[in-house]
Structure formats: C-alpha cells, structure tokens
Amino acid sequence: MSTIEAEMTTPSSPKTKRRATAETMAKSQREISVSEFFAKNRHLLGFDNPRKALLTTIKEAVDNSLDACEEAGIVPEIWVHVEQTGVNRYKAGIQDNGPGIMKKQIPLIFGKLLYGSKFHRLRMSRGQQGIGISAAGMYGLLTTGKPVKIVSKVSIRKPAHYYELRINTKTNDPEILDGIDIDAGEKGHKYIADHGIEWVTHYDPKTPDAKPAELRSGTRVTIELEAKYQRGRGSVDEYLEQTAIANPHVTIHYLDPENNLRLYSRSTRKLPPEPIEIKPHPYGVEVGRLITMLKETPETTISGFLTNSFSRVSNGIAKQICEGAKIGTRTHGKKLTRDDIEKLYHSIQATKISNPSTDCIVPIGEELLLKGMHQVVPAEFYCAATRPPSVYRGNPFLIEVALAYGGAVETTKITKELLKELLSESDARTVRQFLINTFNGLGADAADKITKASKMGARKSPGKLKPREIDALFDAMQNVNVNEGQSMNVLRYANRVPLQFSQAGCAITQSITSMNWRSYGLSQSRGNVPSGPVTLMVHMASVWVPFTSESKEAVASYPEIQKELRLGLQAVGRKLGMFLRKRQLVKQQADRRSIFLRYLGEVATAVSELNGCDRQSVYDNLMAVAQKKTAEADMKLNSSGKLVDETEDFGDNVLIVEKTTEELLNRPGANGEPDDDEPLNDGSDEAFDEMEDE
C-alpha cells in the first residue's frame, strides 16, 4: 500500500517511470495485414514444420490444378517435380494442363492471400478459402528469399506468360519481379529451353516413336522453400498416391528428389460431372450470417429475400417462416431489428423445409473407386459403396467407402537400398517408431514382431544401425508375417482431397473404431481400428465439408454424418465378410482334402493286403470319393450352418483379383517404375477386364 502511495505522490521519481500513454500506444496501433498474420501463424495453414511445408505446398498447388482442370472440362495431367537445391531446401514445381490463367490475374492469384473464386460460392470443390497457394509462395519467400515462378498459357496459339512474384507481407499485395511473354510454337520452346524456364511443353508420346502432342494450355508454379523430404506417413508420396486413388481420371507424373519418376496413370478419361452451385439452405444459416445477408440483399421484401437467397424456399414456405416470426411478408429487409432477425432465425428452424437438392454433389462412383483402389493398392479383394446423398445442417453431403483386402504388406515391398535410405532419413527415435511411422497400416504389434525377429534392442536408433543390423531388419521385414498384427490402413478424403493428419480426431476414424468389424471376419480390439491387411478408403463429398480446424485435417462429427459413415462402412463390411467366409471355406476344403489324401494311400495298401485286390484301383476309387466328398461338404454348410450357394453373389462393385503376389508387385505405378502408358490413350481401362460388373 505504502509503495503505491509513494509512486502516486512522487511521479517524477526514477523508479516509477510512466511506461506508455494512450497517445504513444496509438502510434503503434495499426492494421495487421492478413499476410503478416499468416506469416507469423504459419502453422494455421499447415506450415508447422519443414516436412509438412513441402507437403502443403504441393497439396495446395495440386488441389488448385485439379479444380481448374475439372471446371474447364480438361482431363487433368499433373507434373510434380521436387528437387533438392541445398541443405533443407527444396524446389517444388507443379504443372497442370488446365485452362491457364489470364495474364492480369496471375499476380493476384499467386501473390495475394484470400484471393480466389471458391470462397463465395456453395459448390463442391477441393480448395475453399483461397489462402493455400499464395501462402505457400509466401512461406517460400520467407524461408529462402526466392520468388514464386509462374508460367501460364491459355491457348496453343497465344504466348505463355512467365512471372516471378513475391508477396508484400505488409500490404498483402503482389510484387512483380520479372514478367515476360514467351511466344507460342517452336520459337517459344527454344526460348524456354535456352533460359531454363521450368515448363513441360509436351505430353509423353503415345508410342516411343510417335510425335509427342504439345501442351495446349496449363499453369506451372515453382516455389523454392525450406523443407524436408521424407517418405512414409504424411509424405508427399503418400499424398500423391492417395490423390490418384480418389481421382482416377488424373494422371500424375511425379519426379521425387532422388530422381525417381513415378507415374500414376488415369484409369478413366471420364471427368466427374460438373458440380452445380447451390444457394445455401436455410437450416444451415446462423443469425450472424442472416444479418449480413439481409444487409447485402438487393431484394426489398423479406419474402423475396427468402425465396431468392436460399434453396428450397418457395413463396408458401417464405410465408410460413414470416408468420412464425410474426413479420409481414412484405416488410423491407433492412428495416428488421436484431430481435426480428433472431425471431426469423428461430422460425426458419421451426418450419419444415425440404432437404436441399443433392445433385450439387459429385460422388467418385463405385466403379471408379474400385479402379482407383486397384490402380494403387495391390490386393485380392476390392469392394466399394456409394451412399445416397444426405444432409447435415442444411448442407448436402455424401459418403463413399471402398475397401481392399489382402495383398502384399508394405514392409515387404521395399528394397534393401530403399530401406537404408529410409533409415538415414528418419527422425524417429527408435526402430520400432521408425517402422510404425514409415509404413502405413503397420501397427505397433507388427512393429514389435519385426524388431523382435531382427533381434534388435528396443531403443535402438534407426540412424545408427550397423550394416549387419540393417540386414537383420530387412530379413525380418520380409519374413515376419505381420498380417495379423497389421492394422487397417485408413485413407480419408474430403472432396477428393486426402486427409493425412489428425486421424484420431476425425469422424471417419471414429466411425471405423466404433464399428464391430469382428462380425465381418476381421479381428479388432475394442476401440481400435481393426487389424488385418485391409485398406479402407472413405470419401466425404459435400458443398461444405465441416472440418474441425482451418488446417483441413479432420472431419467434424455430426450425427447425420456419423450415421451415413456407419451405413457405408457396413455395406463394404458385409461384402468383405462374405469374401472372407468363402475364403475360409475354400481353405477348410483344402485342409480336409489334404488330411484325407494323407491316409488314402495307407488305407489302399491295407485293403489290397487284406483281400488281394489291386492297390492302385482302390486308391483311385477312394481318391474319386475324396474329391466328391470335399467338394460336396463345402457346398453344404458354411460356418454359421447356413446353406452356402456356390455361385454366391457379392452384389455390384466387387473386384476379386486372383493373381500371385509377384504379379501384384509388378503392377505399373505401384512400385515406382516409370510406365510408358500414354496419358492420352485410355489403354489402362483394359486392365479392368476382370471386373465383375453384373
């Protein structure tokens, strides 16, 4: 008390210097630019660490490319080039064959945050906020000082535009460092080659000796950034692979920093139908939004406002809403008070309004899901289910599920050289952790099995392994049967974009863990994802995907979404159950037969010894009985005692591949081998002849 009094009575004393006044404070109070905000809070946009920064950069660019191609009706072809330029420095170049960007828009799109076409409309698209790619450019600038390089071409006859841009973080405006026009045709190609401009001018030739087709239009963005390239979970490789699954109409050429060219070929040339833009549904609008909309509306009456701004509101419904809120239908929108608007809001919620039209949602479709899965995930059994559209909070959405069972385990797919590389790249602290992080679907149990089999200490660091230990680890990875300990590999998608992080917080994962997979023939411990060699893909398509956070990593759980997820999972689960039961039966049959065969020879010998008949003929006769018996017995009953129909019908959209493991491993695209499949040719469809389309 006394010290405070002293301060107050002696303001000039050196101890109690006045810190700031309202005036001095006002001098430092100024607007914060969006760019400044995000430059400081880069983690909000997915740039929390160098590894994720590389992924986010590529992801934003690829998502934009795909959106643009689909909107323009072009079958997308994407080139992704990642190149290491220094320690922790990478250059990522992403090019598409999209419509290109008009010259004057280029600086705005790539050099200004929150500039875009997708934010203001309710339409199913990958990107939503218009932050992504410019934020990536900004991140590159902040970490390396290098500008964003853009090449864009709108027509085969018109010149291409080359820009070097950087974002002014203070003003959120683009600064053009260099901008030239490159002529169309041969002259331009020469210029591109001479000046080292990164641009793919031609498609891969159809056949090795054919003349390659020239790229008619497209956009390429090249960003150099501080990053870290690492394979495994949450990597660029994984993102592109998963993108290829959900977008079977896309071809991706991916050149990784180690100069391996990987090609994900499209399995269809059919573009998904164009999604239709819809007006918001009244149920999905909050009070605040309602106030803004009322302020902005050109309509003069409430009734007009309701019918024209929302979907599914007819004059009758508008009248009902107004009556419920006790407002005249012809009242001027701008005259409503806050209370009135609140009443209006409650009245909307109380009025029965039909669900929004669902044609604005474009599912991948069961057939394409199967193709996509088959292209990338080697397995024995595939099935898919697309649920009919449903609605949460006035937003239409749709759930699709595809499942692949069996096939080679990730750990057996790699070479020793690749393992050595992966080990040196890894930042995991223990080998066990390394295994779990690097290989998708490899559960903790399986990792334990492998480390135990390789006789490695539990806390061994992956970077410090001796060659002998690497050999042991490699052997263990090849030979340990991890099928049982393997946990289900879940691929989550929202509007065809893979979700790679925040697995636990996602409604999709929660639906999977809360389901009982044991009844479908998989083993599962309570509250966990089931185990087994299963890859499950879940896609949520919606005009507005409810993410749990800005970084778009997990879907929020609304009861309607959970219900649809459950139904979708059950649909594929049932088919998997049928397949597994049948396979079990086949196995039992083989076991039975082998037991009988073992004893037949003995019985035949004994019989011929007893009555002197010909041993061979007895044996042959008994063999015939054995074959008849085992075939019969398997037809009769299944495990639950029901009659099993031999020609069991799995229903639509099931793909059963009866191939050897080697064949599965040699699939193009799955093992990183360059493939000479020509992108303009739809030859890859032939690979689906074995599809069961009934």
């Binding site: 004893y599 019985v603 010998t605 009555n611 008949c613 061979q616 006769n621 009985v625 018996k629």
Partner: protein, 389 residues
C-alpha cells in the same frame, strides 16, 4: 505317383518274408481270415460306387452296456459307432483300423502270435510324404485293436494277439500248457505265470484237489499268502491279477469256476478301485462287455477288505489313506452302476467307505501281525461266510 509306390514297397517287404514259409491254417484261422477279407471287400465295394466307406463298430461304453439280471453279467448293447474315412475326426482312426486288420492278417497267415505291443510296432511307420506316424504310441493302437475285435466278432487270440502276461497262480492243481505238464503246487515262490491265452486248446486241466480259489488283488499280497502256504493249509488255488486282472486271468478264473466248479473268493483293497476289480471279475467289464459271457463269474464273492474292517480288526489309525476327490467321485459312480444299485449291502459298504473318509489297503492288516491276513482275517471270513455278494 512316386509316393504311392514307395508305400507299397515298404508294406510288401515284410509280408513276403512272412508268407514265404508254408503255414498250416486251422479252421479258426480260416474263419478269421475270411472276416478280415470281408472287411476289405466292403471298402472296395463302397469305393467303386464312389461311396464313403464306413465301419460300424459296436460302441464300447457304459451307454451301450446292459446288465443282464437273469445271467448277472454285463452284455453289450446293439449300438454302433460309425467310423468313416471321410470324416476329419475319424479319418486317422479309420486308417489305423485298416492297418490293424492288415497286421492281424499277416500274423494269422504266418501262424505266429505277437503281443499287442508287437502289433503296434508292426503297424507303426511314417506315412509316405509326411512326417506323421501311423501310430504315435501304444495307447493309440490298443483301443483300435479292441475295436477290431468287436468289429469282427473275433477274440483276441483268434487274431493271434496276446497281452502282456500279468498274474500268477499257485495251488493244488495240475494242468497242461501247450503240452507241458505243470504242477501248480510245486511252483516255488514265483508261481505259475498265467498266460494271456488260456483257451482249452492251450491249457487243459488234468487234476484238481483244491476246494476253492482265492483271488487277491496284487502280487505283494499274493506273496504273503504263498509264503505262509495258505493254499496248502486251506487246500485252495491262489491267484492274483496285478490290479485289474488281464483277460487271461479272468478267463482262467471263469474256467476254474465253470469247469471245476470251484467257488471264487476275492480279497481286494478297500477302495473304489478294489470294488470295481471285483465287479469286473463278477459281471464283466464295460469296455470288454462282449467277452463277459466267457469271462464273468457271477458267483464270485468279495471277502474283503470291508469298510467296517478298520473297527472290526482294531486297525491302527496310521494305516488310513484319506480319500481324494477322484476316489469319492468314482465311489459314487460305482454305487450308481445298475449291478450295484440294487444291492443294499453294497450301497451300505460304499456309503461306509465314504463316511470313513479313508481307504484301506490289504497290507494295512499287517499292523495286527505279519501273518494276520492269512492266519486270522481270511480264515475268519471264510468261516463266518460274511462276504459280500
């Protein structure tokens, strides 16, 4: 194909060497070979019709045993258990049954007999192309042989098989064993080992001066009686069967009783197992109920030990052996057998055992004197005629 050939070779070799000597088959042997051949013919017939070959084996369990009240013996019921080649659980035992049949045929044709252990070795080999043995141990082959006996309705000796010799005899009787004359009163301390096969073609009784047969449970007790020359004093035949008597001993007791009209008296331990040994001698066993007719001695009497003997003979408390759970369970089981259920004296006896809570071995009587059992106990019982029937 290569596999099959190798099997054939393996199986053929011993067969040839066995049949190379000419053997004269008896009528009974021919009958046995006939039924063995029939067995094989059924397999061939069903295989030709692509039908599942199956054997209908009479069931050897309590459920298929009937107590014949008038004859006072156990009889086998009509239930059979199917044994199919094309049934996962039965495939192996089917194969084993056929192997046993083939093995027996080999024995009969070569005119030799072997122990059931010998047959086990004869049949045992590795199944071609696998690491599996046809039989893993003798415990697997013994029930298969018994199955074969009931299946063919042949006796063990008809299959040229015998069991391990267990049981001895001493006493006032002279018999012929395969042509040799045996005077059982001059057998020293070891006694005459009762062979496994004691049919009339092997053993003929020549002279018998004994008045009764005293059958004791085991060798140690038998030694006491033999050393004290009990059989001389009381003019009897003294036998033992090393616990559960083998078929040879039971068949011999049956013959002694029926052909020489000798009463059979038994002295066993006072425990459920002793009771059951008595039951097997008297009524026949559940497992071999089909042989009761030629083995059971319904008139056999149970002299002791009785549950009341602890008090009756003033035994020392330290000779008690506490009943365990299995003993109690078995005692209750025995009390429920139809041939015990109707007998009040036996119900009382078993109840007394359970009430006592301990069992008594015959040797326990030694606490009253080394030769108490021979000098006092058995003579007293015979005198009083206080036995259980």
């Amino acid at each position: 194909m290569a596999k099959k050939k190798s099997v054939k070779k393996q199986a053929d070799l011993p067969l040839r060497s066995d049949t190379s000597e000419k053997v004269k088959l008896t009528l009974r042997d021919k009958k046995t070979i006939g039924s063995l051949t029939n067995l094989a013919d059924t397999v061939v017939a069903s295989a030709q019709k692509t039908k599942d070959p199956r054997l209908e084996i009479p069931t050897r369990s309590l459920s298929n045993v009937r107590y014949n009240k008038s004859q006072r013996i156990l009889e086998m019921g009509k239930n059979t258990t199917a044994r199919q080649l094309f049934n996962l659980n039965q495939a192996k035992s089917y194969m084993q049954t056929m192997l046993a049949a083939a093995g027996c045929k080999r024995l009969v044709e070569s005119g030799k007999t072997t122990s059931i252990r010998g047959l086990y070795y004869l049949m045992k080999h590795t199944i071609a192309g696998t690491k599996e043995e046809t039989f893993s141990d003798q415990a697997e082959s013994d029930p298969i042989i018994e199955d074969l006996e009931v299946l063919l309705e042949s006796l063990r000796e008809e299959l040229h098989l015998y069991a391990q010799q267990r049981g001895s005899m001493v006493g006032n009787i002279i018999l012929n064993d395969k042509g040799d004359t045996i005077d059982c009163s001059r057998m020293g301390s070891g006694g005459y080992g009762i062979p496994s096969i004691v049919e009339a073609d092997v053993i003929q009784f020549r002279e018998c001066g004994a008045d009764f047969v005293l059958h004791v449970e085991k060798d140690t007790v038998w030694q006491r009686f033999n050393e004290d020359k009990f059989w001389k004093k009381h003019n009897c035949i003294l036998t033992h069967g090393s616990g559960q008597p083998p078929r040879g001993v039971r068949r011999l007791l049956h013959r002694l009783h029926n052909e020489l009209k000798l009463p059979i008296y038994c002295v066993f331990d006072n425990d459920p197992w002793g009771y059951y040994i008595y039951s097997v001698i008297k009524q026949g066993s559940i497992n071999l109920a089909y042989e009761s007719k030629r083995m059971a001695v319904p008139e056999a009497k149970f002299l002791g030990l009785r549950a009341i003997d602890y008090e009756r003979c003033n035994l020392n408390p330290s000779v008690q052996i506490a009943l365990n759970d299995t003993d109690r369970k078995r005692a209750k089981q025995i009390a429920k057998y139809p041939w015990f259920e109707q007998k009040k004296t036996w119900q009382k006896e078993i109840q007394k055992l359970l009430d006592n809570g301990f069992k008594l071995e015959v040797e326990a009587l030694i606490s009253q004197g080394l030769s108490y059992v021979t000098d006092v106990y058995v003579p007293e019982r015979l005198e009083d005629r206080t036995w259980l029937d």
